[in-house]
Amino acid sequence: MRRLLSSLLFFAVLIFGWHLMVKSGKWSPVLLPDPRLVWEYLRDAMKDGTLWQASLVTMRRLFTGYIIGIVLGLPLGLLTARFKFCEDTLGVLALGLQTLPSVCWVPLALLWFGQTETAMLFVVVMGTLWSMIIATDTGVRNVPPIYARAARTMGSGQLHTWLKVILPASLPFIVSGMKQGWAFAWRSLMAAEIYVTILTGFGLGQLLHYGRELNAMDQVIGIMVVIVVIGLLADKILFSPWERFLHRRWGTGRS
């Protein structure tokens, strides 16, 4: 409760400071609108449904691509950790492509798939997949060999050991890989949406883009706030419970 209050107070002070900056008149109100105007834009956009619609489109793209990336990345990471051949082929590829900022996939996706949902999906999957493979691979390699030995003495077979020992033992790495994958996917999707108009759906990135075209700074800042809030919520809802579980079980981090 106390922590929530201090958070709220901090943001209240921040917004008030912003308001004072606008009041001082040093900056053009076209470039720096009052927080109240931004709020009014958001309120209207929520009322007429454009904001919900755009958020829904964006989240749908993000989740579909993200889940595909994880579902593919996890087993591939297990393969690169388990088999030398996969490590030398797929592992090297993943390591290389992971260093590629995922925004760089956008031009390629557009040429390959055109202005379609597939292009969006492709960009998000590329953002997630490689870091998921790397994280899973690292996680498996960091599992103390004694765990697998202990499991074997208790009658655990190959597959059982992988599912019930190696996989849960690498969870700390896998979760941080999922988090990183999420961040990459989110960034690349935003870039892609700002870059191109996909006729099958208007995402948050497109709203941001049109805000710029119309010189509507309240819209630009408003959408940025929404993007930040979604990022925060994802962190709190998707990852915090996992991280709390890991910290509690492993005894890492502060309680």
């Binding site: 103390p144 004694i146 765990y147 030995r149 202990a150 499991a151 074997r152 003495t153 208790m154 009658g155 655990s156 059982h160 019930k164 020992v165 849960p168 033992a169 969870l171 509690r248 079980r249 492993w250 005894g251």
Partner: protein, 268 residues
Amino acid sequence: MRITEELQVIQPAKLAVQQVSKRFSGRSGDVHALVEVSLQIAEGDFVCLVGPSGCGKSTLLNIIAGLEHPDSGQVLADGKPVTAPGRDRMVMFQEPALFPWLDVIENVMFGLKLKPNLNNKERLEVARFYLKLVGLEKFMHSNVHELSGGMRQRAALARALAPNPRVLLMDEPFAALDALTREQLYGDIQKIWEIRKKTIVFVTHNVREAACLGNRVILFSPNPGRIREEFVVDLPRPRDINSVELASHSSAIMRALKGYQGEAEVSE
């Protein structure tokens, strides 16, 4: 009632180590970890394997466990050759090797879940029984990191006992603990050995510990690893590690150990 059947004291196994040799190739040439080692261990015996590091005692334990394979020779458990790990021979390592993603009772249940013919309620009850036996029933829902070193080894002991093995193989399980905790565990393991009637093979480099726990103490020497001498410790139980009678046994073993070590140094 299946629980009572599951918890009953079962016949411990006898072990026969027959002409076992094992070589490891390392950077500085081959190491003969074990050379034609033979050893008979009777049902329900408590045997300690002692020797300096590199004498192959842990390797022999791993071979009995089925975690490693000998280059030649074989190990028989109740007359059947050992080829892989089995639930009849459970192992306790120097590290507790408890799984951090499970709480204490789930750790104890891990091996039980692989045991057929039990439902989960029965497994829970069995796990509880063993946690009680090692004095950890209050901590069954604790996380592993919340336990002290000694408690972790107790939990590991409960986990090893839970599938009701016929042989318990212990690889320096108390080496990383402080002296006081260790003394408590000496008492516990003797008590549990008497209640649960296991054949125990216990590897240690601590001569006094070996004399305190074992009916027989088998002395190994390194390069090449082989059995040099056997001591029978026939003191009544429970034994106190600080007793005078025990000291005379352990000093005899120590003298022998030093003799072989001196010999090894000269021959190098």
